[in-house]
């Protein structure tokens, strides 16, 4: 990558802004790190932090100094808000330093002018800091182009989701493609995603699955590992949609019209697909998840519990209760990074759930 690379976390960073300034933002979901030993993290973060945060610290400390020109973060949860300084401390211990920047995204009240003004100011200050550090200049024209590029990437990811629902592509392949797209420049990502559409769209069946198939929505912070995805599909589930933070939640909303950067991000976070980390969206979550089920004619929702993710785990009991009340079957699968070692038990649970749906 010729452009300085900025490692961003968590979840939904303002990637368009970095891109418009001639930088390459990558979003550290660290999916590929999850199954690896976390020796670097073990020196800094206890094992009762979620795997996402532990993998993220590991990824950064292992390759951060050489690969990234800077790190950016915003507030999302109690664990993640501690990580910028932990990463910095880890880097210092390795004798390395890199640019670090943070903003606070109003967790509530973003529908009120004072919170919008606050976010506007956070964005302006971030731009000023990036301009000064990297000797670059912000332009509205370039920002607009960046927004269009990311909109295109997100739109193709949504289309690919439909290809998965129609049986043209395995969910595991889809997940790999999506997560790889966060680690490369958006131009490259658009190119790869388009190639995937060309390859997989023609493979869609008119009626995917067979008589024993069930249509499932996956919900969680991250998707299950590849082998676990395979188990779900081979058990007879078609993943017709997802409410995964690193997938559908990340790509569902791009503000419709161009505006200044501050207003763009007010719209971006205010109307974002509901996520437990965005408090203002909490009241829309059940309604949105139900709509996702109905639009995709799903039979069930499989919650992928990210162990130690408090935000998700506080909402899951309520969501499962409400889903059950609507006659939608649910299952909770907990993932903790070692799911590849427990595939047999995952297989047993998934097959039992499938059987339950067949013989209610």
């Amino acid at each position: 990558m010729d452009r300085p690379c900025i490692a961003c976390f968590p979840l939904y960073p303002p990637v368009e802004l970095f891109h418009a300034l001639g930088l390459t933002p990558v979003v550290l979901w660290s999916v590929e790190e999850r199954a690896r030993p976390m020796h670097a993290t073990d020196k800094h973060v206890q094992n009762f932090a979620c795997l996402l945060s532990r993998a993220l610290v590991n990824a950064f400390l292992q390759e951060g100094a050489g690969r990234y020109a800077g790190v950016f973060s915003y507030n999302a949860c109690d664990t993640l808000r501690n990580l910028p300084e932990i990463i910095d401390a880890g880097m210092q211990k390795r004798g390395a330093r890199c640019f670090s920047s943070r903003i606070h995204v109003p967790a509530s009240h973003l529908d009120k002018p004072f919170a919008q003004a606050y976010l506007n100011r956070e964005i302006s200050q971030l731009v000023a800091r990036l301009e000064e550090t990297f000797s670059v200049s912000f332009s509205h024209e370039l920002f607009k182009k960046s927004v269009d590029l990311y909109r295109e990437a997100r739109s193709i990811i949504m289309q690919l989701g439909k290809v998965v629902a129609s049986g043209g592509m395995r969910f595991e392949t889809y997940s790999e493609l999506v997560h790889e797209s966060y680690l490369v420049p958006v131009e490259q990502s658009v190119h790869r995603l388009k190639a995937a559409i060309d390859k997989y769209a023609p493979l869609c069946e008119r009626k995917p699955g067979n008589g024993t198939s069930h249509r499932a929505i996956l919900s969680g912070i991250l998707p299950p590992s590849g082998p676990a995805c395979r188990i779900i599909e081979e058990a007879g589930f078609i993943i017709v949609g997802n409410d995964i933070a690193s997938m559908h939640r990340s790509v569902q909303h791009t503000p419709a019209r161009y505006m200044d950067a501050g207003s763009y991000y007010v719209d971006f976070y205010l109307h974002h697909f509901p996520c437990p980390t965005l408090f203002l969206s909490a009241s829309r979550r059940m309604e949105t998840l139900t709509a996702l089920v109905e639009e995709n004619k799903a039979d069930c929702v499989i919650f992928i519990g990210e162990k130690f993710c408090e935000y998700e785990y506080f909402e899951i009991p309520y969501l499962m209760d409400q889903m059950r009340a609507k006659g939608i079957k649910t299952m909770l699968l907990e993932i903790s990074g070692d799911e590849n070692a427990t595939l047999a038990s995952i297989k047993g649970r998934v097959e039992a759930f499938h059987e339950l749906l067949r013989n209610p």
Binding site: V45, D78, F314
Partner: protein, 419 residues
Amino acid sequence: MHASSRTPATQKSPSARRLTSLIVSNTARLHDARKRGDFVIWAAICAPVEIFKGFEHVIVAIPENFSAMSAGKGVALPLAQRAESLGYSMDLCSYARIGIGAEIGTRDALDPGGLPKPDLLVSDTNNCSLLVKWFEVYRQEFSVPHFILDVPFCYDVQQPKDLEYILHQFKALITVVEQMTGQTFDIEKCRAAVECTDHANKYWKEYLGFATNRPSGITAFDTFAQMAPFVMLRGEPEVLEHYKLLAEETRENVSAGVFPVPREKYRLLWDNIAPWHQLRAMRERLAALGANIVHATYTSCIGTVEGGFFHHPYDVRTDPLVHLARIQNFSVCPYGLSLRFEAMAAIIKNVGIDGVILASNRSCKVYSIMQMDLQRMITENLGIPCAMIDMDHADIRKYDEESAFLRIESLLDVIDQRR
């Protein structure tokens, strides 16, 4: 003067008796007020409760305090288990599980339940943001509004933009309470409450200051218990009176040579929420080793601002809301690693600490996820040995006394070797 041990454990000191009386009367007051039709707010521990003193017949209950007291009394476990049976993961904060178990779902006729039912929920991201999700569970259960105070996390001294943002939210909160109660906010009553808290904090700091005495005039375990009035009744004259008497009583004890650990060999600092289920057991076992936890970051932060050690006073010429916004970062949780280190370094220097116990608390990630680096910074930069023990502030199932004391005794050995 010969140092003697304090009153036997079975005999309560005057301040401990007053504390019990305050807790009992507050519980009765809350339920009576509900019966009278007063407006009940369930607030987060760090929410600016002095604002609510600007209204008549508005009372405040603190769910975290209820959970801590339940754990301290040894009655928390069945409540946590009830929440787990409702689907709430055992990995979730034990305060939340206890609070959910006490308030959600069906209970039998003999179960007194928890707090009087709320009209409004006010959560706050500054002690932890998971509390917002916990209060959301209450919102779903009781169908009452939930106001979320969003306090930016502090990596440095609070910035004016953050203070202004918090202030806007206070005004929005006042509007909500005005609309719901039909009253007009009285800022002078709020000011009086802020002054009251400020004076109480001054006495609190004086009380904590007796830790500098050798042997220490206090233990951190006492401070854990004695913080309850600050948590439950901030802004009320009884709190000021209580802390004034507490400081006086401690001064008299120190003058009379009455100390909690008379043969004090090791002066320790505790970093995390109190181990509520272990207050007496841990204090007594440490005392038998000649060790006293003389200070705790959890209680030292009361009356300060981010990274501070000394009292941050209220200037009466200042708008009380501005002061409340300024001190939103008083507790340890809303600030980051550098500020935490600053605050701990100040305690170590001012109180004279021999070693630090970092309680790695599975129920409080915001407090715990950074302790590994804190431990390294304290050891390398200050030359003070540390021990990290596994702990859960309110779930006794996640604490192993022998494992903890193995590490604590090793810490005492290291302190000895360095002497």
